[in-house]
Amino acid sequence: MKLTLKAALALGATAIAGAASAECGIEAGSVRILSNDFEALRYINDTAMECASDAVTVEANATSEHKNIQGPALSIDPAEYTVAVIANNSIVPLLNDDLIRPLDDLIAEYGDQLLPNQVISTGGEAMAIAFMGNGQHLFYRSDILEEAGVEVPTTYEEMLSAAEAIQEAGLMEHPLAASVKPGWDLAAEFVNLYLGTGGEFFEPGSAALAIDNEDGRLVLETMRAMTEYMDPDYLTFDANVINQLWDAGQVAMMNQWGSLAGAAIGDAADPDVAANTAFATTPSIGGNAIPAAALWWDGFSIAKNISDEDAAASFQAMMHGISPEAVAENPTVATWLVDGYQPGEAAVGVIANANAGARAYPMTPYMGLLHTALSTELADFIAGREDADQALADVKAAYDDAASAAGFLQ
């Protein structure tokens, strides 16, 4: 925590740092960035590459396979990449295997521009710098809701009755959509709703699973109830597919990624649909006050197995990549966490969720194993072939085996 405070104290210097020129102040070194592949990250990579000079090389590899590459690439010495762009979940394997370095010294020396809440720390050591927030939130069609005479839903119960009203009014056959394709998406949907119940996934202080309870059953029953109002093909719906359905005007309400909000109202979208597309907080579940959606951050870490010179060069290049000026030039591609950012139209959902107290996707070391277990074992449930009790028992059995093999459970 102490360095988060230090960064906070350094805030006063933000204005001065902000006035620095496009030169990144790097003397020498090699910067090699590994990141996921979407618009906001490509923009940051491109901006960081401006730091290249005779003595400094800056390379970037933006690939959706980054999660599979990062472990092996950072394990070797010297590491293949000096910067790993990560999120809540993908930082965990790097932390577990001790592949990234504490950033406290670098923040003190070069991180004047950072806001205190951009620093991701664990056990008092800063391990990553966040630059954008993300998360699933409500997309709704204002015209359809108005025609059906229903308010924007604030709870899942209201969302279901609104869907009923839209169906009854004959406005849409399948007013709801959700990314429930078995796999990562389906598990993420469960995690979202379960976070909304306020419950914990694990027994405190251990890796023992704790979702076999009333909250777990409520979440599953809500997920099942939603599918009644979805296209029968819902088992093949991932986030990209439901965005296409949205653009085709076939869906009135869905929880969708904030990073896809820009596309839903952008120039390439169907103008009629885009004009009536609005964003709001994710509905809450089971009478709880918080939105039933996980909050995500995207950020970067610096590899451990590289020279201090390269680490400093990498940190400085990334500071240039996520500088307030760079963000100010391109405010619409992401919900930036950077100082001075003015949220645009597409960012309202994520910010509303954060303000309403939504919880972050857990950084627990064994969360990934639970996510994997959920992704396969909930398939039968969401397809309507087994009941909630059986589904929860299956998840627990699959998780217990995986967590024992990984050494988290004895």
Partner: protein, 343 residues
């Protein structure tokens, strides 16, 4: 050939096989007997843009120390093979003793990931292999009777399904089967059922995957059988015709016996291929209704954030064993044929 020359002649092949086939298999078998070390955990406070919370974290130094001592992990024996995610002995025993009726046993077994995957893998294997061979043989017979000029284009069109990468091929069909796609919409009109979706029910999904399998595997049989047809002795065919054999009788009594050894070879290759069915499941987004052994390996390795190497290795070893079991009848047959010729 002197022994020494022979040994030198095949040495490169033997070395390559040892390096690239035998050693990896040994390493997979070894890996499947181990699980990861117990993780040393410490409680820490994690802070980020959305607040702080107390969570456990891996004590990397302590864990690294244990790992350095025994890099392979903890020896687990056959745990990886018999736990619930694989052969699930305990669960199967319980299902056996507490279910009444085969129906219940079946539905409860299908709830265990390994058996669910095995069921689809076997059904796919045993339906696709014969039907794809029949399709390939039929096309070969057809193409063989075409006039010379038409043969080239016909062959090209016939092997198209094999040229298309399986993943791309299945994705294309997946979109065509979409209710808004050309095949999906046509089926809805033909059956008069506007809610018909080939992707919603397990049975329909299996049918689509199997039809796709036949479509994509047919060309291989076609190529081999077409080549085989060129070697059918013209004299035998002519004498059969003089004896008054119909076209069907010629196929049944001359061509099929002549191509039988080839069919064994095709069956061998196709059984192996189909047993590791994988791409169509991903391409058709069919994970909810159909999984295969290879898909289980993929799912363990792609992990969400952590790979389960021991589990994946155990499934791989069982896939190899499965292929061996499948091939035993065919291998025995080949061995007998070989011995007969040698006499």
């Amino acid at each position: 050939m002197p022994h020494k020359t022979f040994a030198l002649f095949i040495m490169p092949a033997v070395v390559a096989m040892l390096l690239f086939i035998a050693l990896p298999i040994v390493s997979v078998v070894v890996q499947s007997l181990f699980v990861e070390h117990e993780q040393v955990m410490v409680e820490v406070e994690n802070c980020g843009p959305f607040g702080c919370s107390t969570q456990l974290r891996v004590d990397t130094e302590a864990t690294a120390e244990i790992r350095d001592e025994r890099p392979l992990g903890r020896f687990a024996g056959i745990t990886n093979y018999i736990n619930r995610n694989h052969l699930a002995f305990d669960q199967v025993r319980e299902i056996w003793s507490t279910s009444d009726g085969l129906g219940e046993i079946w539905s409860r077994m299908m709830n265990l990931p390994f058996y669910k995957a095995l069921a689809f893998t076997l059904v796919y294997c045993f339906l696709v292999t014969p039907f794809a061979m029949m399709l390939g043989f039929a096309i070969a017979l057809g193409v063989n009777t075409l006039p010379r000029l038409a043969k080239g284009p016909a062959i090209f069109v016939s092997i198209l399904p094999m040229i298309i990468t399986p993943l791309i091929g299945s994705l294309i069909l997946f979109w065509m089967f979409n209710p808004q796609g050309i095949l999906g919409a046509s089926l809805q009109v033909i059956t008069g059922d506007p809610t018909l979706s080939l992707r919603a029910s397990p049975v329909l999904t299996w049918i689509v995957l199997i039809i796709y399998g036949i479509w994509t595997n047919g060309p291989f049989s076609f190529v081999v059988f077409y080549a085989g047809l060129q070697t059918v002795p013209g004299d035998t065919l002519e004498s059969a015709m003089i004896d008054g054999a119909s076209r069907w009788e010629r196929v049944r009594y001359v061509i099929i016996p002549h191509l039988a050894p080839l069919a064994t070879f095709v069956a061998l290759v196709q059984l192996m291929d189909n047993f590791r069915v994988f791409e169509p499941i991903v391409g058709f987004s069919a994970e909810a209704n159909a999984t295969s052994l290879s898909w289980l390996v993929y799912n363990d390795l792609i992990g969400q954030d952590s790979q389960q190497f021991g589990s994946a290795a155990a499934t791989s070893v069982m896939t190899i064993l499965g292929v061996v079991i499948l091939l035993i009848p065919v291998l025995i047959r080949t061995w007998r044929d070989f011995n007969r010729k040698a006499v």
